[in-house]
C-alpha cells in the first residue's frame, strides 16, 4: 500500500496534509482498497466547526459505509464537491484528486508519522 512520506495519518485511516494553518484530509490508499468501489461521499457544509474526533461525513462503497473522523479541531474552509459526481476519484487518486475536506485548524493533534502508520497497517494484517 502507498503511504506517502510527506503526510500524517490517523488510526482510522485518514491522511492529513498540513500547509500553514490549513489541513487537507482524505482517506488512505489502504482505506480505499478495503472499501472497494466508492459510490457515494457524504460531505459536510463549508463553515462547519469540528472538534478533534468529530465525524464529518462518510464514504460508501458498493458494500459498506465508513464514517470519516477529523483528527483536528477547526473550521471547514473547503469541501471537494467534485466527489459528488465522481466518487471514484477516492479509489483512483486517494492522496490527490480524492481529497475530501480542508480545515483551518487550531490546536495540536496526535497524528501518526508515515512509519507509525505503516506499522499499524502491518499489525492489522
Amino acid at each position: 500500500m502507498n503511504v506517502p512520506q510527506d503526510l500524517k495519518y490517523t488510526r482510522t485511516h485518514e491522511w492529513v496534509r498540513i500547509e500553514g494553518d490549513i489541513a487537507t484530509i482524505g482517506i488512505t490508499d489502504h482505506a480505499q482498497d478495503e472499501l472497494g468501489d466508492v459510490v457515494f461521499v457524504d460531505l459536510p457544509e463549508v463553515g462547519t466547526s469540528l472538534s478533534p474526533g468529530d465525524s464529518f461525513g462518510s464514504v460508501e462503497s458498493v458494500k459498506a459505509v465508513s464514517d470519516l473522523y477529523s483528527p483536528l479541531g477547526g473550521e471547514i474552509t473547503e469541501v471537494n464537491s467534485s466527489l459528488e459526481e465522481s466518487p471514484e476519484k477516492i479509489n483512483e487518486d486517494p492522496y490527490g484528486e480524492g481529497w475530501i475536506i480542508r480545515l483551518r485548524y487550531s490546536g495540536e493533534a496526535e497524528l501518526l508519522s508515515p512509519e507509525d502508520y505503516q506499522r499499524l497497517l502491518e499489525e492489522e494484517q
Binding site: 459510490v39 457515494f40 460508501e60 462503497s61 459505509v65
Partner: protein, 358 residues
C-alpha cells in the same frame, strides 16, 4: 470454528480474491472490483463459485410426495430435465427458504441457500418422517459454478457435449464439460442468460481455469448481490425471512395455491390472498443523495411504515436503487431515512434491469 472452503479456494487465492466469511464458508467477495465484475457479467461473461450453495437429494418412492408437501411449487408439473424456483414455508406462511428444485430421472435435487442448509434439512426431515423418502445432504459432493452473461453460451458451447441452444430457460441436462461429467442448467441469479454447472469437486478447478482462459471474468459475491438486486430477485435474509410470506415478496409465480396435494403453509397463504397482503415488496429509486441499505426505515405519507430490505448504487445505471416493504396500497413518492437523514424516493416497476432478448 474453522470456515469451510470450496474446491475452488486455491483458485481464488491465486487470483488475489478478497475472501470473507459467508454462511460458514470462506468465499470471494471480489477479485478486481465489484463494479468491473458486474459490468463484465452485463456485457460479456462472468464466472462465480457458488459451491457453498447446499444440494439436497430426495430419493425413494415418496420423493415427489415429500416435495409436494414441502414446496410451494407444484413439482408434479416438472418434467425430467426441468427445474423450478420455489419457496419453502412454515404453516404460518412465513418462508423457511427459497430453492430451486431439479427433476432428474428417478430423483430430485434441491439447491438451497448456504445459510439455511441445516435448518432446511431439519424442516425437510421433520415433516416427512411418515413417508418413504431418503433426504441426503450432497453439498460436499458438488462444486457449483455459475457462468453468466450474454457470451456465456458461446464460451461454454465448444467445451461441452450437446447443443446448448436447444436448452431452454430452467432446463438442464447431463453432459461433459472439458471431458468431465457435469450437469448444466440454464439458470442463474443475475438477470442475464447463463448456466449453472454442477461438477464433481475434483474436476472444478480445472474447468474453472479453462473457462477463465476462454475469456470469462471471475466474479465474487459482491457483484452477485448487485446483479440480482438490479434484476429484482429476492435474497433470503433480506427480502425473505420467517416473518415474510412468498406472496408479500412478490414471488407468487413460485406458489401454486391450486396444487392438488396440500403443501405446508398453503392454508395460510390462501387466507392471506383472500384477505389481502399486509405488506408488499417494491423497487425504488432515491431522488436525493445517499445509499439506502438493509434496515433503513421507509416513510409513507410522512409516517414510518416500511423498511428497506436491500439497497445499493446500481452499477448499470449509476443511480441509488433499493427494495423495500411498504403497505400494500403504496404508490409513487416515499422517503427513506438514511442514517438519520430523510431522503425522497420514488417507487418504480421491477425489475430495475431487464436484458434485451436476443
Amino acid at each position: 470454528m474453522s470456515l469451510k472452503r470450496t474446491p475452488l479456494h486455491g483458485e481464488h487465492e491465486r487470483l488475489g480474491a478478497r475472501l470473507v466469511e459467508f454462511a460458514g464458508w470462506e468465499m470471494p467477495v471480489q477479485y478486481e472490483g465489484i463494479k468491473a465484475e458486474h459490468q463484465a457479467v452485463r456485457t460479456r461473461a462472468g464466472l462465480f463459485d457458488v459451491s457453498h450453495m447446499g444440494e439436497v437429494a430426495f430419493r425413494g418412492p415418496d420423493a415427489e410426495r415429500a416435495l409436494q408437501r414441502l414446496l410451494t411449487r407444484d413439482v408434479s408439473r416438472l418434467e425430467v430435465g426441468q427445474a423450478g424456483y420455489s419457496a419453502v414455508c412454515y404453516e404460518s406462511g412465513g418462508t423457511v427458504d427459497d430453492v430451486i428444485v431439479y427433476r432428474r430421472e428417478g430423483d430430485f435435487l434441491v439447491v438451497v441457500n448456504a445459510a439455511n442448509r441445516e435448518k432446511d434439512l431439519a424442516h425437510f426431515r421433520g415433516n416427512t418422517s411418515d413417508l418413504d423418502v431418503e433426504i441426503s445432504d450432497e453439498t460436499e459432493d458438488w462444486a457449483l459454478l455459475a457462468l453468466q452473461g450474454p457470451e456465456a453460451e458461446s464460451i461454454l458451447q465448444p467445451l461441452c457435449g450437446g447443443d446448448l441452444s436447444t436448452i431452454g430457460r430452467y432446463r438442464f441436462f447431463e453432459t461433459a464439460v472439458d471431458g468431465r461429467p457435469a450437469v448444466i442448467a440454464r439458470t442463474g441469479y443475475t438477470g442475464e442468460d447463463g448456466f449453472e454447472i454442477f461438477l464433481r469437486p475434483g474436476d472444478a478447478a480445472g474447468i474453472w481455469r479453462t473457462l477463465i482462459e476462454a475469456g470469462t471474468t471471475p466474479a465474487g459475491l459482491g457483484a452477485r448481490d448487485t446483479l440480482r438486486l438490479e434484476a429484482g430477485m429476492c435474497l433470503y435474509g433480506n427480502e425473505l425471512d420467517e416473518e415474510t410470506t412468498p406472496l408479500e415478496a412478490g414471488i407468487s409465480f413460485a406458489v401454486h395455491l391450486d396444487k392438488p396435494e396440500e403443501f405446508i403453509g398453503q392454508r395460510a397463504l390462501r387466507q392471506e390472498k383472500e384477505e389481502g397482503l399486509k405488506k408488499k415488496l417494491v423497487g425504488f429509486e432515491l431522488e436525493g443523495r445517499g445509499v439506502a441499505r438493509h434496515g433503513h426505515p421507509v416513510r409513507v405519507g410522512g409516517e414510518e411504515r416500511g423498511v428497506v430490505t436491500s439497497g445499493t448504487v446500481s452499477p448499470t445505471f449509476g443511480r441509488p436503487i433499493g427494495l423495500a416493504y411498504v403497505p400494500p396500497q403504496t404508490e409513487g413518492e416515499i422517503e427513506v431515512v438514511i442514517r438519520g437523514r430523510t431522503v425522497p424516493a420514488r417507487i418504480v416497476p421491477l425489475p430495475f434491469y431487464r436484458r434485451k432478448q436476443s
